[in-house]
């Protein structure tokens, strides 16, 4: 804290200091932080504690007057031994890993190209950025139209390029293709996100490093491996962190595109959670599932951030 500010406070007449306007810095700090913290306590932490409590009960939200029974860890045991939950976790992992892999390849590639700084690059960058600003739910909804086997744009586009019959495959209805359709739409939507972060990373590398490498006659490939990649790495890892958290929670886009189907091939964790909580009304059970999911994200994110900080320090 600066001494200048303290001197200014000390110089203020006492009567003035007592007025509302002359509160001490400490009082102002607390006054300013309290509303946000109170709001988050009421809307995030209190519900979280409530969820923990519910997760030990057999409560059902559609029968609020039924006798509440504490079942101990039964809900957790049921979840961890439920093959459907494991299947949902597998579907989630498949979705998260592939979407991030594709977004990284495309996003990083695009960032490298845009970083060349050709004419009009800022206009085209803005065009590329558009999908990520849209509502994932509305995106999921209109892609059901684009992915219709006959009338949809996607199948016709594929037919135009490869010559297959546009009605010979369906992205959403097919058990094998449906998991790829959600990955594809997610990649379409979020590649610009990865690209933007990678671009910031590329632009943070000072030119003189490349100039020094040129003097040392390092090949372009060598420059890429020894300069570009390590210096962009913290940015790439940050992009992975944000995408992984978001896609692990993914609900809206998938719910409207496939709503978990066909069968349960695209039923990611959040969809299972919604079914248990708001369709089967097993509130206690779904609370336990919610806690397990939260602990998973929170734990994984913490470990990852530690690794990220280590990369940053190098």
């Amino acid at each position: 804290m600066s001494t200048l500010a303290e001197r200014a406070v000390a110089r203020t007449p006492r009567r003035l200091a007592l007025r509302f306007g002359g509160m001490s810095d400490r009082a102002i700090a607390w006054l300013f932080i309290t509303p946000s913290v109170l709001l988050l306590l009421a809307v995030n932490i209190f519900p979280l504690l409530w969820t923990i409590q519910l997760s030990f009960t057999n409560y059902r939200a559609n029968r609020p007057n039924a006798v509440l029974r504490y079942v101990g860890l039964d809900n957790y045991r049921d979840i961890l031994t439920d093959p459907e939950v494991w299947q949902a976790m597998q579907a989630t992992a498949h979705f998260v890993l592939w979407s991030i892999a594709l977004e990284l390849i495309l996003g990083f590639g695009l960032a490298l190209l845009i970083n060349r700084g050709f004419r009009g690059h800022s206009f085209w960058t803005t065009i590329i950025l558009l999908p990520m600003m849209l509502s994932p739910a509305v995106v999921g909804n209109f892609w059901t139209f684009l992915l219709q086997p006959q009338i949809g744009l996607f199948n016709s586009g594929i037919a135009l390029v490869t010559g297959v019959d546009p009605s010979s495959f369906q992205m959403i209805g097919d058990v094998r293709l449906a998991p790829w359709s959600i990955i594809m739409v997610d990649t379409w939507m979020w590649t610009p996100y990865v690209m933007l972060i990678c671009l910031a990373g590329l632009r943070s590398i000072p030119d003189y490093i490349y100039e020094a490498a040129e003097v040392d006659r390092a090949s372009p490939l060598r420059q890429f491996w020894s300069i570009t990649l390590p210096m962009v790495m913290p940015f790439v890892m940050l992009a992975i962190l944000f995408r992984a958290i978001e896609n692990f929670k993914m609900f809206d886009m998938v719910n409207l595109l496939t709503s978990g189907g066909p069968g349960s091939t695209t039923e990611v964790a959040s969809i299972t959670l919604k079914r248990e909580a708001f369709e089967k009304w097993r509130t206690g059970y779904s609370s336990a599932l919610a806690i397990i999911l939260f602990v998973t994200v929170f734990g994984a994110a913490n470990i990852y951030v530690k690794a990220l900080n280590r990369v940053k320090q190098r």
Binding site: I33, L39, N44, A137, V138
Partner: protein, 317 residues
């Protein structure tokens, strides 16, 4: 790799590589924008044209989708239609030509208004709370500041459905289910974390010397905050507000679980526009277009601050 070393700096790529780069980027941009363009065009097709096979690229434009979006209609027999007085307006004439009569306005306007009220309400509150909290975190030594900031961020890691379970019960107790007030409070809480993180970054960039000079001149801390810091932070506050607005505008999970009528916003409403027949894609496309236009404008406005917003202020360019 034996590239001949040329005179120009490596930081400036050759014109041939620029050409290849621009070609690839433009190709990607065109492919990525096609779906959006297609939705925009579908809004101006007639329902039969929208589901034609093969898909129609050239078509006669029609505003039937927009008319269908804003009205409810019922199908009538030709005999009944013949007994009606002739249509008064161009849209009535259009609907009549499909053997239907207009029953009344559809729910799209109230839903759009809900989106606006909830979006602006929650943005205003989140930015107010966020600005003062960010100032405190930026300027004062707050005990456990890092822990508090991390706590504020961690509230974003919960899957929305997980939060929705207890919120649903809480709203039911408090009578907030399907009310705009409930949604405003909920979105404010979600947006406050973003607002605090973003605004702390913006506040950190305003030199402390400004307020200190003001305080030496006799301003109190609060006066200095209102008269010196806030005007300096206007750009940051505006950018933050737009990000909060976009979140509230786009949000679906809470909206679909906690609202059903009075407080329903656009995202859960749009999928229902398709209607019982399931074929009214022009109306859906029209709604999607109207819904996307504000976002399009905001994206262009926000270009310079986009990176900061999407990474919670972690990357500042």
């Amino acid at each position: 790799m034996s590239t001949p070393i040329t005179a120009h700096s490596v930081a400036e790529p050759s014109s041939r590589s620029k050409l290849i780069a621009s070609f690839l980027v433009v190709t990607y941009a065109v492919i990525t924008i096609l779906p959006l363009l297609w939705i925009f065009l579908t809004g101006f097709k007639t329902p039969p044209d929208s589901i034609a096979y093969p898909p129609k690229v050239l078509f006669e434009p029609s505003v039937e989708g927009y008319v269908n979006l804003f009205t409810t209609r019922s199908r009538q027999t030709p005999e009944f239609l013949a007994t009606l007085p002739p249509p008064q307006t161009w849209y009535e004439r259009l609907v009549r030509s499909r053997n239907m009569v207009i029953g009344g306005p559809s729910k799209v306007v109230p839903r759009f208004v809900n989106s606006m009220v909830i979006g602006f309400g929650s943005t205003f509150l989140a930015v107010c709370f966020g600005t003062i909290a960010a100032y405190a975190f930026s300027r004062f030594r707050v005990p456990l500041a890092d822990d508090l900031l991390f706590f504020i961020l961690s509230t974003r890691m919960m899957p929305p459905i997980a939060v929705a379970i207890p919120i649903y019960l809480m709203f039911r107790h408090l009578g907030l289910t399907d009310t705009k007030l409930g949604m405003i409070l909920l979105y404010t809480a979600v947006n406050v974390s973003l607002a605090v993180w973003l605004l702390k970054g913006f506040m950190d960039e305003i030199p402390r010397e400004y307020e200190e000079a003001a305080m030496v001149d006799g301003y109190t801390r609060l006066q200095a905050f209102f008269k010196v810091v806030l005007p300096q932070a206007t750009t940051g506050i505006a950018a933050t507000a737009i990000f909060c607005l976009i979140f509230a505008w786009n949000e679906y999970a809470f909206a679909v679980l906690l609202t059903s009528g009075d407080a329903q916003t656009m995202p859960p409403f749009i999928p229902f526009i398709i209607g019982e027949g399931g074929q009214d894609w022009p109306a859906v496309a029209a709604a999607t277009t109207i819904f996307f236009i504000p976002i399009l404008c905001f994206t262009i406005l926000l270009r310079r601050h986009l990176l900061r917003g999407i990474t919670f202020g972690a990357v500042r360019k």
